[in-house]
């Protein structure tokens, strides 16, 4: 369910010399890369903004937030977001990671608690541009960048920062942060993007997920999809429901293919 307790800022407008154009605006499948990011994050909040000075991003219907400090990398983008933000907490995401998911973001938000910054570490690699930030860091952040500290890792040491290892967490798959830095990556990304499926949710199962539809990376069969969803949302476990694949109720473990539509159907008794 989209909430107004958190704002989402997508950082775009980075110079992309490696590809010669703005990465978020490159096509991936039938959409621009940034549209994949927006679509993934819509369940998080009704307040989604793009931090950029590039007017070409206006076409996505979201408010654009320009940088105050220019040419200092993501530290400037995060600053603009902190300064603009009306909620206590904001979620920062890069515009060129089309495989991120709301589930992963939600997990970090739940884990953030009293920390000022919460960012994931996957296989020893820190992902600062997929994290939860508290707006109470604004003044110090601004002072630091005015003093020429631009490296995010150095900035993080100034705050109560939680670097959360997510290696064992099923919500954080390896390709989640695949970003689009080279044309070769883009090709690979096109292959990966195909491997998703829609899961439609009915009845009280919508309470568990907070929405009536999710998109997940393709699983091999209905059993592994079910296990994945139950590990993600333990309150799904006690509920009884049938799994349908492409509008047919399955009676045993059924193989899944990318693009399949899965539905979780509980019984109702009201009359």
């Amino acid at each position: 369910m989209a909430s107004n307790h958190i704002s989402v800022y997508i950082l775009a407008g980075g110079k992309s010399s490696r590809m010669g154009s703005d990465k978020g605006l490159l096509p991936l499948g039938d959409k621009k890369i940034v549209q994949h990011v927006i679509q993934a994050l819509i369940p998080l909040s009704e307040n989604i903004f793009i931090v950029t000075s590039n007017k070409a991003y206006e076409t996505f219907g979201l408010e654009l937030v320009p940088d105050v400090f220019h040419n200092i990398g993501p530290a400037g983008g995060i600053h603009a977001a902190l300064k603009h933000c009306k909620t206590q907490t904001l979620f920062i995401c890069s515009c060129d990671t089309p495989f991120i998911s709301a589930e992963a973001a939600r997990f970090l938000i739940n884990e953030s608690q009293e920390h000022q910054i919460t960012v994931p570490v996957i296989e020893t690699k820190l992902e600062p541009l997929f994290g939860v930030y508290n707006t109470n860091i604004l003044n110090r952040w601004e002072e630091a960048i005015a003093g020429n500290t631009y490296k995010l890792q150095n900035l993080f040491t100034l705050f109560n920062t939680r670097e959360l290892s997510v290696d064992k967490n099923p919500v954080f798959s390896k390709h989640l942060f695949t970003n689009i830095n080279t044309v070769a990556d883009l090709d690979k990304a096109l292959q990966n993007k195909k491997a998703t499926m829609r899961v439609l949710l009915f009845g009280q199962i919508t309470d568990v997920f907070g929405c009536s539809e999710i998109e997940v990376a393709c699983k091999n069969d209905t059993d592994s999809l079910n296990q994945f969803l139950q590990s993600l949302y333990p309150s799904l476990k006690p509920l009884s429901y049938r799994i349908a694949v492409n509008k047919k109720i399955t009676s045993s473990n059924t193989p899944l293919n990318s693009g399949d539509e899965v539905a979780l159907l509980p019984a109702f008794s009201g009359g």
Binding site: P238, R242, K248, I249, P266, F268, S269, G271
Partner: protein, 353 residues
């Protein structure tokens, strides 16, 4: 004259007998249209009486009908709507002993009930008697409808149990009393059940045989799912003698720890009894009939220490569902509590007083 629906179809309707179980949110619209369409005989079974909270969806009743039996009241209104239809009303609970007889006498059966015990009982009865079972159920902004025990396109016949083989854990079940339902959703699903009944009787169109339809009012989305034959491991009655002795209340998870309203009333003077209202503060109706304390469900866990281990505790809420959840919660908290939940809740108790 509706094209495709001629005299022949009308005659078939006139010769048909429909059994409708539950004259509530689903039953009212189904009943209205079946009677208005000129169905020969409609048998209405409902043990309940009309409550003010019913009127938002059970639109054939009005404020003058409060407290009256639903079956008989519905029958009177339906006879006025179409005197040529024979409307038989039975103010009783559908049970193991009356179900088979009622189902056998009908051409098809509409399940407009509001609980799993009745649904499984009626579905099994229809399977044993090989009668079409027209399913409908609602919750909040969603509803489901389906047609079972009817062959579709050379496929095997599927039953409600092929869709939902076993009842869900009662702790996870939301009732309309608890979670609510948008009145029009019950209207739409009940009307679909009525439509499917007319189609089956007259042989027009493609029915929902072997399929279940899900309607979501918020998205205005209809999804239809195909139900296939699946292995049925579960023990359930497959013939008359097994059916007659099967305890559906127990099967659906309730009753072992429940006390009936009648028994509760008899025991009220027993000083051994410790009675707890688990409803939230200020919930109606107020209860002055007996001494009790109020420990709202939301705070029950932390207040469990206030309960005595040496007395028989009876928990109650409005319908008997929440108190059953409270019972399971308290059992986990302290296995030495002696607990019972009032079946049918305080509403049932006051009604049958």
């Amino acid at each position: 004259m509706l094209s495709g629906f001629g005299e022949e179809a009308q005659r078939k309707l006139q010769q048909a007998t429909v059994l409708l179980v539950g004259a509530g949110g689903l039953g009212c619209p189904a009943l209205q249209y079946l009677v208005a369409a000129g169905t020969g005989t409609v048998v209405v079974v409902d043990f309940d009486t009309i409550d003010i909270s019913n009127l938002q969806r059970q639109v054939i009743y009005n404020t003058n009908d409060l407290g009256k039996p639903k079956a008989e009241t519905a029958a009177i209104k339906m006879r006025a709507l179409n005197p040529e239809v024979t409307v038989v009303s039975l103010h009783q609970k559908l049970s193991n002993s009356n179900a088979l007889g009622l189902v056998r006498n009908a051409d098809l059966v509409l399940d407009c009930s509001d609980n799993f015990a009745t649904r499984y009982l009626l579905s099994d009865a229809c399977s044993i008697c090989a009668k079409p079972y027209l399913y409908g159920a609602v919750l909040r902004y969603e509803g489901q409808a389906g047609v079972f025990n009817v062959r579709a396109n050379n496929k095997t016949v599927v039953t409600y149990r092929h869709l939902f083989p076993t009842p869900p854990d009662p702790l996870t079940v939301l009732s309309c009393n608890e979670a609510g339902v948008l009145g029009t959703v019950a209207g739409i699903i009940g009307t679909i059940q009525g439509t499917e009944a007319i189609k089956l009787i007259t042989g027009i169109g493609q029915t929902l045989a072997g399929r279940v339809l899900n309607y979501n009012a918020l998205q205005n989305a209809f999804y239809t799912f195909e139900v296939n034959e699946s292995p049925q491991k579960e023990n359930y009655p497959k013939n008359e003698s097994e059916f007659l002795t099967f305890d559906y209340d127990w099967y659906c998870g309730y009753s072992a720890d429940e006390i009936s309203a009648e028994e509760f009333r008899l025991r009220l003077t027993d000083p051994e009894l410790f009675i707890v209202d688990v409803r939230e503060k200020n919930e109606l109706p107020l209860v002055n009939e007996f001494k009790h304390i109020n420990l709202p469900m939301s705070e029950l866990e932390k207040n469990a220490v206030q309960l005595p281990v040496n007395r028989q505790i009876v928990l109650f809420c409005n319908s008997g569902q929440r108190s059953m959840k409270a019972l399971k919660l308290l059992k986990q908290k302290n296995a030495s509590f002696r607990l019972q939940s009032l079946r049918g809740g305080i509403t049932g108790f006051l009604k049958h007083g």
